[in-house]
Symmetry: C2
Subunit: 393 residues, 2 copies
């Protein structure tokens, strides 16, 4: 199965000059920031090696166009093949970084004081973007229904007001790992139409969905919803190349793109590096076999983590994520005197993501990244189990 | 002298998937876009090779900080060592692309309808930025004094009006190759203080100055001028890595940075790729010996080109550039029936930069990039000389 030799040992991993392996002291095992401890796809490695071999660091050109247009072309091919979504490259704007796409959309489609709906908990930069641009954060809670995390349309209806302009959707959802169903997405889409909202849909985890779940791009639900949807996507998360900085902002219609560009000039958001461009095109065009192997690895890692917690630490509430390599752990019933993050960092020497960064009240939650090799994952789980047991004596 | 083996042959160059060698048909020798046909600095190549070897494509960290802060640190070290300019990394904002810095500064420090002074001819994106953001372009002409190109302070005084907000300075100047003297810069600085203008100073060619000329960062001229100066710089031009996308926007004071960030959130302009970061830091910290060799090569190439035109085509007016590897050719006296660009493309099969892109009226000007190996440069010069002579018969 491991025909791609995905697993890397700790010595190799610690040589990488990344935040993941160097934020904490060396006795801490990191399981926070959303990147994978796995070997990169051969097609990506070959693309970057070619650039380096030919010292090809000039202004790049691909397929007779400015090179970043090839990112838009590859995005369109990938959306069609993976999700049956038909769109055109003219609607896709390559950017270095999807957080840019969020800030740019907020500035383009709302004004200070306007309301922005965000499903919480959520990826921290969304909250930061809303607050720092002086929009009003309207929090739609992902609630534990006893079967999964879900939002409630009745709550959404109570939340919206006439000054609300934007719904930030994160699908698949980070950190809960939910993949929204067609019904859930249609409900959001119709609500957006009804209340004249722009949907900013971060779909960066869309390639990391476990069968039988299926990702549906919200802009693919029909022209009325597409006309108000800005879709953010990138190969950086699923192909593990966030440092190469490349992504796409997709507008559902030309009118929407024109409205955006009225406030955000094309060149304000910058251009992708040649490495980001070629790696992204390689990923989307040729990376599927590698990703299939990765998904198999991640499914095993997910199940291993979920089964361990269920068996050994049943007081921690969790649901197996439907997508992503992130596990959202509700530690409220552990009766910790510290935040869950501090508890596991101090007592297990495991570096998780702080729940409170995803939603300030959630200090008893942590997010665990299980995208690593099995020997490391086993150590992480064992350390966490031991720390909780020792604490309960 | 060529201890760095700078020269590359045409076969190697044509393998690069860049715009320079693939915009025109294969029988055309390119001498347009500002990148060099030279081998990259060994310190840069080593930095990029390390990333690739360790597949270090995650979220990078350097010197215990988010990696792009190391670009700011290296910028400060480089400015001190090269120009004796003392500043602090907190005032330097890494960006992917200096055109971003121009757009962002226009949006931050002016409103639609406001006047923006630009020395013309100039790098085309400046004009595009002013026009597309609906500012008023106020053109300060670089005039041929018979000894060099220069602007006239009396003309500047007549040009400015109460709605003028910004002076875009390009120093060293592209395409004329002028390096402005302390007196010229002080005159601009004082004028900006007097008329309450922000100076946006593109200094991307500052490392490409031929002795005895010296580059002076305008923000180094004193606190009053610094307080209104936004300086744009990057290693991409002098170290020939534009495709890696990394640069710096520097604010003369914290107040100026705060005013900028009130309109342009930090994360709107995105983040540099790990390759851009490490290559830039390597260039600024360790690249000087390589750059010294490059400058020697460029001086010989410049002199060869200038001497050839002076001897063989005296009707073309030109001045040896004081900086840059770009030669600004005034072909008005050739009596061409086409634009100079079209003439040389069609008749010499040499791809130059169109003068009219730098200033619409200048169809009889072209810009020649002489940063190539001598065998290629000789061919370019010979083809141009032959084409003009044949045309004059």
């Amino acid at each position: 199965m491991d025909k791609f030799s995905l697993e890397l040992d700790e010595t190799f991993l610690r040589r990488r000059r990344n935040n993941k392996w160097h934020l904490h002291p060396p006795d801490v095992l990191p399981a926070f920031v959303a990147e994978m401890d796995l070997a990169v796809a051969p097609c990506i490695q070959a693309a970057v090696e070619r650039i380096v071999r030919e010292q090809d660091y000039g202004y790049p050109k691909r397929s007779d166009e400015r090179a970043d247009r090839e990112v838009a072309n590859a995005f369109v091919r990938h959306m069609k093949r993976r999700f049956g979504w038909e769109t055109v490259p003219e609607l896709a704007l390559p950017v270095a970084d999807l957080v840019q796409g969020t800030y740019a959309s907020l500035l383009a489609f709302s004004d200070p004081g306007d309301g922005v709906i965000l499903q919480v908990p959520n990826y921290p930069p969304f909250r930061e973007a809303i607050v720092s641009t002086e929009r009003r954060l309207l929090s739609l809670h992902m609630r534990d229904t006893g079967a999964r995390y879900a939002f409630d349309m009745a709550e959404l209806k109570r939340l919206v007001d006439p000054g609300t302009r934007i719904f930030i959707l994160c699908n698949p959802q980070n950190p809960t790992g939910r993949v929204f169903s067609r019904d859930e997405l249609l409900a959001i889409g119709r609500f957006a139409v009804e209340h004249d909202l722009i949907i900013v849909s971060d779909e960066i985890h869309s390639d990391l969905v476990y069968t039988p779940r299926q990702h549906i791009p919200i802009a693919s639900l029909g022209p009325e919803i597409a006309a108000r949807s800005v879709t953010l996507n990138s190969a950086t998360k699923s192909y593990n190349i966030p440092g190469l900085r490349c992504g796409v902002v997709h507008f559902g219609t030309e009118e929407l793109a024109a409205r955006y560009h009225k406030r955000i000039p094309l060149r304000l958001t910058g251009q992708c590096s040649v490495a980001g461009i070629d790696a992204t095109v390689a990923a989307w065009d040729d990376g599927q076999p590698w990703l299939d192997a990765v998904m198999e690895h991640l499914r095993r890692a997910r199940d291993r983590a979920v089964n361990t917690f269920s068996a050994e630490l049943p007081a921690i509430k969790l649901y197996a994520p439907e997508a992503t390599y992130l596990l959202w752990l509700d530690c409220s019933d552990l009766g910790l005197s510290l935040s869950a993050f501090e508890f596991f960092l101090g007592n297990a020497r495991v570096g998780l993501s702080e729940g409170e960064r995803f939603e300030p009240a959630l200090t008893q939650f942590v997010r665990l990244n299980f995208a690593t090799s099995f020997p490391i994952l086993e150590q992480i789980l064992e350390r966490m189990v031991t720390a909780v047991r020792r604490n309960q004596r």
